[in-house]
């Protein structure tokens, strides 16, 4: 009852695929921590070339993780909040699945412990009778 109506949206593979790269994740973390940044500022911490960074930014943009705009002569990047919401939604869906399942696992283990205790007790009783 929990899962079926909120299965992750189909664009999530693209979203997570975009994040599953150390450079792109670092870019996203920098934007998440500091808000807007120019492409030049984003390039600064990396040893890879500006065209390489540019390709990473294009991947992030097409997956909907970031958006770019031109401010006078600068190209400015920022995170799209709905991308983060989608990621959080995915994590939350998983959390609900596990919480519900682990509640049942707990009960199953308790039931089995009860059964084993009964078996052990009856075995004990048999021992005594002998």
């Amino acid at each position: 009852m929990i899962m079926q109506h909120d299965i992750p949206a189909p664009d999530l593979p693209a979203l997570f695929g975009a994040l599953a790269d150390p450079h792109r994740l670092a870019i996203v973390e920098a934007l998440a921590a500091e808000g807007e940044k120019t492409v030049g500022e984003l390039c600064a911490p990396f040893e890879i070339s500006a065209p390489a960074i540019s390709r990473h930014l294009a991947v992030l943009e097409s997956a909907g993780v970031i958006e770019r705009r031109v401010d006078r002569q600068w190209r400015v990047c920022r995170i799209r909040p709905d991308a983060l919401t989608a990621v959080e939604g995915w994590v939350e869906t998983q959390r609900r699945f596990w919480n519900a399942s682990l509640d049942r696992l707990e009960r199953m283990l308790a039931e089995d412990a009860g059964t084993n205790a009964t078996v052990a007790k009856s075995n004990n009783d048999k021992e005594k009778k002998r």
């Binding site: 079926q4 299965i7 997570f16 983060l84 990621v87 519900a100 049942r104």
Partner: protein, 152 residues
Amino acid sequence: MSEDTTLRMERIFAATPEQLFSAWTNADQLVRWWGPEGATTPKHDLDVREGGAWITTMRHEDGSENTVSGVYRLIDPPRRLVFTWAWHNDGPRGHESEVALDFEPVDGGTRMVLVQKTFQSAEMCDRHSMGWTSSFNDLARHVESLTGGTAA
């Protein structure tokens, strides 16, 4: 951001690590607790070995079904179990993530830590990079054979 893309849960169960490990890797036990309250798991296949595929289809009380599948990455009973994880959304497998379980004996039972990453860790990718493509193809075939080409 890293925290947002990783789920970490921790619980203490009144059971031994061996019992818990078996609850995850023994299909007869897994189907008794897999999924939310009221769900059953009418279709399942667990090939419990490293590189082996697993798939389960849950049926909910309203008759709707969800399939989830993956590949076992690390099997170290009774301490650690790692597998990949993806929902099937209207056919194709969705985004693949990685679930790692650690079982540690504590007073009164076992502490289980579940960490689910939205993408596989670099460690696991490195470790399995050689077998990655082939096991993925195996899984795709496996899934097709189970669902007759149309995932639930």
